[in-house]
């Protein structure tokens, strides 16, 4: 069961969006996110919503997956609306009940913020739904590379991410093994208060950390044996290059950004 875990929420499809250069996808996502913060009216949100719907249509993903991505932020959405309802003042009084008072400005700002968060989340989850973790890492490395001269270790960050992605399944499998071995000897991970359950994880974490350190040591040795000496002088088998479809996607998105900021 553990062997089949997929990392992140990437869903494999053969679509225009999936095949775009990851660098372009990351840049466009950033631009749109910034654009969303400049939107001043509900009309702007409508256009932004239309943009996201178009992207979903082009990505061959089902609606449900994108909507499912909104579930974890449901609480934040409700919280935002409630806070604004009761604490933002201005406009006509809509409701008064004891010390609680709802004014029209509050309702408006609350909904406005909620819609903005919903669009932000669905947009960023579209990025991770259509881009595999490996592509994301590659894209980030390329994009961060110019910042090397300011001391940003772009290659090292990307290498750390790759190794983390590579070892998550290995360590999960190991944790599962240790857990079973300890359950066989009577350890109880499932009952008791949260505090007790957390405490019962200590004997799981100690051997897990020990073995993680041993693995790190082995891996460093294996990397050195294969002539790894940092990003300097290293080449890549797969080089990223922008195609015309990437520029088309950029132009399309830029058009939308301009429209929804103006509105």
């Amino acid at each position: 069961m553990l062997k089949n875990i997929t990392l992140g929420q990437y869903i494999l499809r053969d679509s225009l969006i999936h095949n775009l250069d990851p660098r372009m996808k990351i840049m466009i996502t950033m631009l749109i996110v910034i654009g969303l913060f400049f939107i001043g009216s509900f009309w702007g949100f409508l256009v932004a919503g239309a943009y996201i719907i178009t992207v979903i249509a082009f990505s061959h993903l089902s609606w449900k997956v994108v909507i499912r991505g909104l579930k974890p932020v449901m609480f934040i959405l409700v919280f935002t609306i409630v806070i604004h309802l009761f604490f933002t003042r201005g406009g006509v009084v809509l409701l008064e009940w004891g010390f609680l008072r709802i004014e029209s400005e509050g309702l408006f700002t609350g909904l406005f913020m909620a819609v903005r968060i919903m669009l932000l989340i669905s947009l960023t989850s579209l990025l991770t739904l259509t881009t595999s973790p490996i592509q994301l890492t590659d894209g980030l490395e390329y994009l961060l590379n110019p910042f090397r001269r300011f001391g940003l270790p772009a290659h090292e960050l990307a290498m750390m991410m790759t190794i983390a992605l590579r070892f998550i399944p290995t360590l999960l499998e190991e944790a599962d093994k240790i857990m079973k071995a300890q359950q066989a000897r009577g350890a109880d991970f499932e009952s008791g208060s949260i505090f007790r359950r957390a405490k019962s994880l200590v004997p799981l974490l100690v051997p897990l950390f020990l073995s993680a350190f041993r693995r790190a040591d082995d891996l460093a040795m294996a990397m050195e044996a294969r002539c790894y000496r940092g990003g300097e002088g290293r080449t890549r088998m797969k080089e990223l290059s922008f195609l015309s479809r990437d520029w088309a996607a950029l132009g399309f998105s830029a058009g939308f950004i301009i429209i929804f900021i103006i509105l």
Binding site: K3, L165, M237
Partner: protein, 277 residues
């Protein structure tokens, strides 16, 4: 001059306040180009330490190690040496770096700074050699132990080394995986690669050109596999076990059957037994 030369090599582990441990004592060894040499010994005999001396991962405390005329203590040439002497480790899980098989094989050539088209060609070639063409895009954690170890071998092969050191590559594999890895090693051998094979399974050394037995950091025997199997006292002293066939031949001879001593495979045993009538 031999491809790899060890002269009076000793290695001592010094850790904190603990008393120093002498893992290797005065080892002299030369490895010729194109030969397959097995280094065998029980746990704690220093065989893994020895393995790490061949490509400069460890520096000898005393003595010198030279690879193709280059001293491994020469830090300027260390990457040149490591490109020439590749290394496959025991645990397949702890030596794979990338999340995809082809990226994994490309890792070494990428470190050498080769152009992308060359790397691609080498990855294809390595995948064909180990027979994993269909697993190009697979994630390592979806592969079996034997497959992972073959990916590791492909990753080394893609760097075009002259020599590959195998540090107990089959110790963590099931019999199936062991067979796959041994077959791949034989393929590398037929490609003309020099092979240093470290193990504690005596049945795996049958095919080697030469065998070195280590015990407590000392070389106690150097010879052909046959000579190693015949040195029963030494094998016993080194806590090793004779493989089934030589053991059977030994017991049959003890029981009075006039069998020759140089039988190493089941086929030749059958043949010799049939000749007895």
């Amino acid at each position: 001059m031999a491809f790899i030369e060890l002269k009076d090599v000793s290695y001592t582990y010094i850790e904190g306040d603990e008393p120093p441990v002498k893992a290797l004592k005065n080892i002299n060894l030369s490895v010729e180009e194109g030969e397959m040499i097995a280094i065998i010994g029980p746990n704690g005999s220093g065989k893994s330490t020895l393995a790490k001396l061949f490509n400069g991962l460890f520096q000898p405390t005393e003595g010198t190690v030279t690879v193709a005329g280059l001293d491994t203590s020469n830090q300027k040439m260390i990457w040149e040496i490591r490109q020439q002497v590749g290394m496959v480790f025991q645990n397949p899980d702890n030596q794979l770096i990338a999340t995809m098989v082809e990226e994994e094989i490309a890792f070494g050539p990428e470190n050498l700074g080769l152009p992308p088209s060359t790397i691609k060609a080498r990855v294809d070639e390595a995948l064909t050699l180990v027979g994993l063409e269909d697993f190009r895009q697979a994630a390592p954690h979806h592969l079996s132990g034997g497959q992972k170890q073959r990916v590791a071998i492909a990753g080394i092969f893609a760097m075009r080394p002259d020599c590959i050191v195998f540090d107990e590559p089959t110790a963590m594999l099931d019999p199936m995986g062991r067979k796959e890895v041994m077959a791949t090693i034989q393929k590398l051998r037929s490609e003309g690669k020099t092979i240093i094979y470290i193990t504690h399974f005596m049945e795996e050394i049958v095919d080697c050109d030469r065998v070195v037995i280590l015990k407590e950091g000392e070389k106690i025997l150097e010879g052909t596999p046959l000579e190693a199997f015949q040195a029963r006292e030494l094998i016993k002293a080194a806590d090793l076990e004779l493989p089934d066939v030589p053991y059977l031949v030994y017991r049959l001879r003890e029981a009075g059957l006039p069998l020759p001593d140089e039988i190493l495979t089941p086929e030749s045993l059958v043949e010799k037994l049939c000749l007895l009538n």
